[in-house]
Amino acid sequence: MKLRGLLSTVFAMAFGLLVLLGYFFEVQPFYGLRVVFVEWAVILAGFAVLVGLGNLVTVHIKKIRAREKGSVYGLLLIFALLMTFLAGLAWGPDHPNMVLLFRAVQFPVEASLMALLTVSLAYASIRMLRRRLNLFSIVFLGTVLVVLLGTASLPLLGDVPFLGDWVRPFVSQVIAGAGARGILIGVALGTLTTGLRVLFGADRPYGGK
């Protein structure tokens, strides 16, 4: 292993294990070290955001130079990015002008993209019924219908008795709660395994092999 690769592995293992000790033994010096190292990681995450922005701009500049199809959109993206970044640096993200920008651009586009999901999700459900009709897809779509019908009042009919009072709460709070708990525990076990592999140097997703 090259010296630089060794240094990266030592960094990951040493800082990670000290932070982990700080989680399970809330005594000095472990607790203090945990606070300091997490703070450093947050600062580095701030630098990583800047690296990400730089990379985004570089990729689009390359596309514009190569006159690739659709590169004019990249020009718009870079302009919007730089203007917002400079305005945010000058005024701060809480300034009324930045809030106005958020309300004029970010919120409407985000909400409209979310609204488009009503069409794409309905289309995806119909495609699933046509292409992959089995017990589990029927259970899945049946649950969707039960929860939606049990949640909202229907025109002319109003609330659906029994469905809204008993079936929907039981399905969404007990059965789905149980499934979600199983999934959560599974995810936590996966996180634990992956995290320990990184902390003991078995996986090195930071440039080492």
């Binding site: 958020f102 609204a115 499934g179």
Partner: protein, 218 residues
């Protein structure tokens, strides 16, 4: 003399136009939709960058350095090395900084998984069997048993261990049956999540349509 439109009105006009541009995707993927989306990505990325500088780097790094906190020199050097990732020639300089982030992130994830998920979720499954005098016993037993069966069978569904058999690797019979029950629980859980997302999307659609109506004064 014509009155000058207020900034609020201009913001409303931009919001109105961007909403229509995004909705034009329902017709087909077109230039107006792309303009709206690229503008959104640019503004969002710029905003995130400004937040990172003003709310992370300035108070946690620059101000401590100006106040003589020399411990902040170490993250400053690592941060500058991380900026080396912007070029392929200097990318390797940023590896130790990335390693620190990954190591600390892994430790936080392990701590969070054990203390924030595994222990509380297992404890909550056990606590379901504690009798609550305000509810009927049969209802509580039904709820707690469903929770226990659902949690265990869902975990079994994600168990991928298999033994070699005459028709290739196969799960044992009990694991296959429990996994099948778990799959039903997973299908119901995803159905409930899907319904939640769909309800949120419908709410967003109603809100956007209402904003278009209000801007037009209808």
């Amino acid at each position: 003399m014509p009155s000058v439109p207020s900034t609020e009105w201009i913001a409303g006009l931009v919001s109105f136009l961007l909403t229509l541009m995004v909705f034009s995707y329902l017709w087909k993927d077109n230039a107006l939709f792309r303009v709206a989306v690229y503008l959104f990505v640019g503004v969002s990325a710029g905003y995130v960058g400004a937040v990172a500088c003003r709310q992370v780097l300035l108070p946690r790094l620059i101000l401590p350095l100006l106040n003589g906190d020399f411990l902040a020199v170490f993250p400053l050097l690592l941060g500058l090395a991380l900026l080396g990732k912007l070029s392929q020639r200097t990318a390797a300089l940023g590896n130790p900084s990335l390693a620190l982030m990954v190591g600390v992130g892994a430790a936080v994830a392990v701590g969070g998984a054990v203390l924030g998920t595994l222990i509380p979720q297992v404890q909550a499954t056990i606590d379901n069997f504690e009798l609550d005098l305000t509810r009927s016993v049969s209802e509580q037993i039904l709820d707690a048993s469903t929770f226990l069966i659902g949690t265990v069978t869902t975990l079994v569904y994600f168990h991928y261990g298999a033994r070699p058999g005459p028709r290739g690797p196969q799960r044992s019979r009990p694991v296959a049956v429990l996994g099948w029950v778990g799959q039903v629980f997973v299908a119901i859980t995803f159905g409930v999540l899907f319904a939640g997302v769909y309800a949120a999307a419908l709410t967003a659609l109603i809100e956007r349509l209402n904003s278009l109506r209000l801007f037009l004064g209808l």
